[in-house]
């Protein structure tokens, strides 16, 4: 009888403390090199990271075999990429908070830039108002449009030629550069109201154009996830199709749909270019969507950076006053987007179908 070479079930394993030892070693080696060659802290950290990612699998290969080594290598790479991705995000947040936080005062949040010259304290209230009004209007246009398109695609037009054409067009729309959307909205308004017309509604149209495909896509995915069983159960109770859609399908998908809508809002709330060409710039409060120029936060930031004013003579500050306002507005914008994302998560949780026992 021939004996097959049987690999043993038990193999040597790296001790639990191996990753920690390798990490300490990697940092020590990188630190030593840094001392000898005079590297900065960033270079040292990068070298330490690379050393760790390479050395641990190498050790593992010697002791544990190739499969375990590959496992450790891939684990290290995945975690490494995660860290690399997080660095710019954290950096950005720290930077904006550090530069913007000192600027956030009651005055900054409650006044406009009307009659503010040079280093006089100004505010962003007009830009906040503009952002809220324009984004809200864009949402009011885009959400019904997008939702109904998604409902048609999933519930009525499934597989038909028209549905395929619409899906294709929505895909194309997703790729429209935002400035093109802005120019389209401008051209549309100029056609009706003359060449000098600038108002918030133009910005809202442009943003709605950018939002609609996102809303269609996310709502479509969510509606597709609703099991057909539920539709049939509803039909079998003698419920008409549109009632089934409104009362059974939509509530089941609501959490996902709302999340998609809020994410679409937070995507367009930071748009600058289309608003610059359609809504223009304004230092004063303007809550009227249909007349007069309107400033939104991103446009405000852009403008403050473009025309920051002069550094006052004899002041200690080295940056012109507009820079600080731009950072402050940027911080406010980021906070708004974060709050929107939080709202999306909470709403998603609240409306998620309950399975609870």
């Amino acid at each position: 009888m021939t004996t097959l070479a049987v690999s043993p079930l038990a193999r040597p394993r790296l001790p639990r403390w191996a990753p920690a030892v390798v990490a300490v070693g990697a940092i020590a080696v990188a630190g030593l090199l840094a001392l000898l060659l005079g590297w900065g802290p960033v270079a040292t950290l990068i070298v330490a990271g690379v050393l760790y990612v390479v050395v641990l699998p190498a050790w593992s290969r010697l002791l544990e075999g190739s499969r375990a080594a590959a496992d450790r290598l891939m684990t290290n790479l995945v975690w490494g990429s995660f860290v690399v991705v997080c660095v710019p995000l954290l950096w950005l947040i720290i930077m904006v908070v550090r530069k913007g936080a000192p600027e956030i005062t009651g005055h900054f949040l409650s006044t406009s830039m009307r009659n503010v010259v040079g280093p006089m304290p100004g505010g962003i209230l007009h830009a906040l108002e503009g952002t809220v009004v324009v984004t809200l209007a864009a949402t009011l246009i885009a959400v019904p449009l997008g939702l109904m398109t998604a409902i048609y695609l999933i519930e009525y037009g499934r597989g038909s030629r028209l549905a395929r054409v619409i899906t294709f067009l929505v895909d194309v729309m997703t790729g429209i550069p935002s400035i093109v959307a802005g120019l389209f909205a401008l051209a549309l308004l100029v056609l009706f109201f003359g060449p000098a017309f600038r108002a918030g509604i133009g910005g809202a149209i442009a943003l709605a154009l950018l939002m609609t495909p996102t809303v269609v896509r996310s709502a479509e995915e969510m509606l597709r996830l609703v099991p057909n069983d539920l539709r049939e159960a509803s039909y079998a109770l003698g419920v008409a199709k549109w009632r089934t859609i409104v009362r059974v399908v939509m509530p089941t998908a609501l959490g996902g749909i709302v999340t998609g809508v809020v994410l679409a809002i937070s995507r367009v709330i930071g748009e600058t270019a289309p608003l610059l060409v359609t809504a223009g710039y304004n230092d004063s409060m303007n809550g009227n969507l249909f007349s007069g120029r309107m400033t939104t936060l991103p446009v405000f930031i852009y403008n403050q950076y473009k025309t920051p004013g002069a550094v006052p003579l004899g002041a200690h500050a080295t940056d012109p006053p507009g820079y600080a306002r731009a950072w402050g507005a940027a911080l406010v914008l980021i906070v708004i987007v974060m709050i929107l994302n939080l709202i999306a998560r909470i709403i998603g949780k609240i409306f998620a179908p309950k399975t609870g026992r």
Binding site: G159, L230, Y235, A236, L237, G238, V248, T252
Partner: protein, 259 residues
């Protein structure tokens, strides 16, 4: 009020594909009628054509006649939504509405049709339907909990309660026990026995013992060959069918010599 169903020479198509051919039968009121046969022979398709549910699938259509108490179901003037209100259906997999509580699930047929009900009447319907589905004692203390939180057998009985809450004339059941354990199956079979006194019940099953246990009449469907339309081989009282089938294929199927 229970009603009888007359089917004559019914062909069912999905697009160009003929799924079921030439079915003629009479389903008696206040009785249980079971359909047996191998997978893909068109039992479920035929069942779904009895309340026009198969039309939900694009391209599905029928030729022939189905009449319920003299009213033709496929008359151009008949509203399929109204048909389904009269002829309820329970599906293979329990499918309570996940956004609704047990209470709301039972009332779904009324609420979704925007029928306004005073609270006392709604409570009465819920209790009556849940009692009718033998579920009341198990859930009466947690009516406001989600319907999805129940066990599979309870969910299926909840679906039956939901179906009888709209007081249909006929109850169609498409393999209602195939996803359930023997105890839940027994509970539902008992329930079918009880429901028989008020409703006309049509049940599709893969389990021949179940057909023998619960039904008064049995229809055996079969395929001539793969790709051919399914057809009704034999339709007889269950007792006769299982003791003394008239058709050789039926006997072979029932005694386990094929399928």
């Amino acid at each position: 009020m229970a009603k009888s169903i007359d089917v004559s020479d019914l062909d069912i198509y999905y697009g160009d594909f003929k799924a079921v051919e030439g079915v003629t039968m009479t389903i008696k009121a206040k009785s249980v009628t079971a359909f047996i046969g191998p997978s893909g022979c068109g039992k479920s398709t035929f069942l779904r054509s009895l309340n026009r549910m198969h039309e939900v699938i694009p391209g599905a259509r029928v030729e022939g006649k189905v009449t319920v108490d003299g009213q033709s179901l496929y008359d151009p003037s008949v509203d399929p939504v109204e048909v389904r209100r009269r002829i309820g259906m329970v599906f293979q997999r329990p499918n309570p509405f996940p956004t609704m509580s047990i209470y709301e699930n039972v009332l779904a047929g009324n609420r979704l049709n925007s029928r306004r009900l005073p609270k006392s009447e709604a409570d009465a319907i819920v209790e009556k339907s849940l009692r009718g589905a033998n579920l009341w004692n198990e859930v009466k203390d947690r009516l406001s909990r989600p319907g999805m939180g129940l066990s599979g057998g309870q969910q299926q009985r909840l679906c039956i309660a939901r179906a009888i809450a709209v007081q249909p004339d006929v109850l169609l059941m498409d393999e209602p026990c195939s996803a359930l354990d023997p105890i839940s199956t027994a509970a539902i079979e008992d329930l079918i026995h009880e429901l028989k006194s008020d409703y006309t019940i049509v049940i599709v099953t893969h389990n021949m013992q179940q057909a023998a246990r619960v039904s008064d009449d049995t229809g055996f469907f079969n395929l001539k060959a793969a790709g051919q339309p399914g057809h009704l081989v034999e339709f007889n009282p269950t007792k006769a069918m299982f003791t003394n089938p008239t058709n050789e294929a039926t006997e072979a199927y029932i005694s386990g010599r094929f399928g």
